[in-house]
Symmetry: C2
Subunit: 375 residues, 2 copies
């Protein structure tokens, strides 16, 4: 917690993203090293940080290719100097005008899963682009089923028939790795994903269609060490990690590189809670389930806020228990609660950092440097 | 659904709030009439729409006092000409500078629940303001317990001792009305809330402290008809309503005044789903529980999109079943799915409209008029 009387934090009056650059850079370095060792292309997903400032930390270590989740985000990062961008979301043909403009400036990679979209792209794209086929390897959200060889072949063939489309291969997001916590589960799902992708690739290549493989969830990329057969990884969340990832086992507490500073606005010792300015419009409503308890975030303690590199400390009894529009209800051990004053700041590591960053957008380092995500 | 080939909608390429002004105005008129009939002050909560444009619809029918949920939102509406604003969130003393500036321009009403805050306000406020005491009548989120007469008296007395603080009375938000669906439950919770507030008021007035009563949740204000003893109501959501309110019983389908237009980006007939551009960064992650199924929104059908005033139609089998960052997974009956094309727009009434508006911010009427919420 940060005292109201600590003048080095008096610029923080609203919920603010507190980022620890040294930890984020260490997370980047570790994932990059893993990619190098495995000789896979590292194409990090920038939907987590959404910031040109943070993107420089990737560029500084030699990253040249990135992933984003919308056409607007691709435009922002193209403006920030990125020249090889995958929009990892099924092509939205209502944005074809923007897509054509982008494709004239940068190397653009899109993903498709329906023949209808391929047809329209073939008719209306003005310059060549790279196309990945979204493949479902078990998440069951979207994509062509990995073992539906007929559908895979039909779509790949249709893509290759279009003059402007350059077929790259199969792309998957094993989002079900979020639903089964534990490093062993993550590893099992990863191995299953890799095996399924490889089977699909063999089936396509037997038909003479050269096929790369791209996968991307943070749990898989964090726990797996062997990426044989994979051409590209696209993790995003790992740059900061969060409470969900901590519970899944993707990271340790000392890898958590972002918390939200929330002003304390009310105390209720009888209930063992304080109310902070920090609600659903800051944290979203995603939670981590910890031993049957829903936690929207966990309180970070310790003096790392002074920027001296010390580790944040956590205890399971200090957490964000509920969020309404602007209110956050924080459960605290009575001893901590007794030390808190109205106007102090509590640092809270969010359950799901991507949604929290998307909502707050204002970054500040412990040392006081400020920057914003795009908007 | 709206066809991709319908050129009157070709300006919509991203998730967009489709607002039906005639329905929103009818919702406003109905609540206003109820307030007039009961002779209570109508102080609608503007956190739902967050828009100066929509606020004009309230001004046009004589509303002069409003509620907001943050100091920033108060500034925005003060700039839009509103001169009597309650910030219905415990005073954040880190924003006292902005609060002082605002209090010099408008009639400002704040809420407190801790003596510590009252002390600081007493020392640092530069102009007089109105103060409401946050009272817990059963929601158990925040506020002084309604039957803790000693605490109520102590805080009221402390407020009255401060030169700049003008004690108004007791303010509550019966947020637990959201947890017990059904008009009868809403009515029961409302009656309990009113009775508890009245008891607390009697206890304060016996000690010579003149006390007004303010309450505000949409379920209560929608179902209750008798506001005897209440001085002020502060509902917000009722201007649009949403799926949660529909399930609670606060409204009928024909009162739903807002849906989100979402481009269809993928179809999966085998799973009975389509993927739309419209995810957690548009809808948030709030849901309505309908017969054990989580629904993040419900699909609106019918030709009301043409602006001819017809009613949207709903069927429980067509709903937003899951949201990830940008993806929405919509379950549809096969017959509807068969009629849909890539690039069509699906209209989806969100589970919780306040959070959805906060995220998307871009409004469009069926007739094509556009405006934005503040940002």
């Amino acid at each position: 917690m940060i005292s109201y009387t600590d003048t080095s934090w008096s610029d923080v009056s609203k919920p603010t993203l507190i980022i620890r650059p040294e930890l984020a850079k260490a997370n980047i370095a570790k994932m990059l090293e893993k990619a190098h060792k495995n000789k896979v292309r590292f194409r990090p997903h920038f939907k987590t940080h959404q910031s040109a400032h943070v993107s420089d930390w990737f560029r500084d270590v030699g990253v040249t290719a990135i992933t984003v989740s919308s056409v607007s985000m691709a435009q922002y990062f193209a403006d920030a100097g990125w020249t090889d961008i995958t929009i990892s979301f099924p092509v939205n043909i209502r944005e074809l005008e923007m897509i054509n403009k982008l494709a004239k400036r940068i190397t653009l990679n899109l993903i498709v899963e329906n023949p209808e979209t391929v047809q329209i792209l073939g008719q209306r794209l003005e310059v060549p682009i790279h196309i990945w086929m979204k493949t479902d390897t078990g998440y069951k959200r979207s994509g062509v089923q990995w073992d539906d060889t007929r559908a895979l072949l039909a779509l790949a063939t249709k893509i290759k028939e279009q003059r402007q489309l350059d077929f790259m291969g199969l792309l998957t997001h094993a989002g079900h790795s979020y639903k089964e916590p534990g490093r062993e589960n993550s590893l099992r799902i990863y191995e299953e994903t890799r095996s399924r992708l490889t089977t699909a690739k063999v089936n396509l290549e037997q038909a003479g269609i050269s096929t790369q493989l791209s996968l991307g969830d943070t749990p898989s990329c964090s726990v797996a060490e062997d990426f044989t057969g994979i051409d590209e990884i696209r993790p995003g969340n790992f740059v900061f990690y969060d409470l969900q990832q901590l519970m899944i086992g993707s990271c340790q507490a000392e890898n958590l590189a972002l918390a939200v500073a929330c002003p304390v606005v009310a105390k209720n010792p009888e209930r063992g809670t304080v109310i902070v300015y920090g609600g659903a419009v800051h944290f979203s409503k995603d939670f981590a389930e910890v031993d049957g308890t829903r936690k929207f975030g966990i309180v970070a303690q310790g003096d790392s806020t002074q920027g001296n590199g010390n580790t944040w400390l956590f205890q399971q009894e200090a957490y964000l228990a509920a969020v309404s529009q602007e209110h956050g209800t924080v459960k605290l051990p009575l001893e901590m609660l007794g030390q808190l004053h109205i106007g102090d700041l509590l640092l809270i590591v969010p359950a799901h950092v991507c949604l929290t960053v998307d909502l707050i957008r204002d970054y500040r380092t412990p040392a006081g440097e400020r920057f914003r995500a795009w908007s």
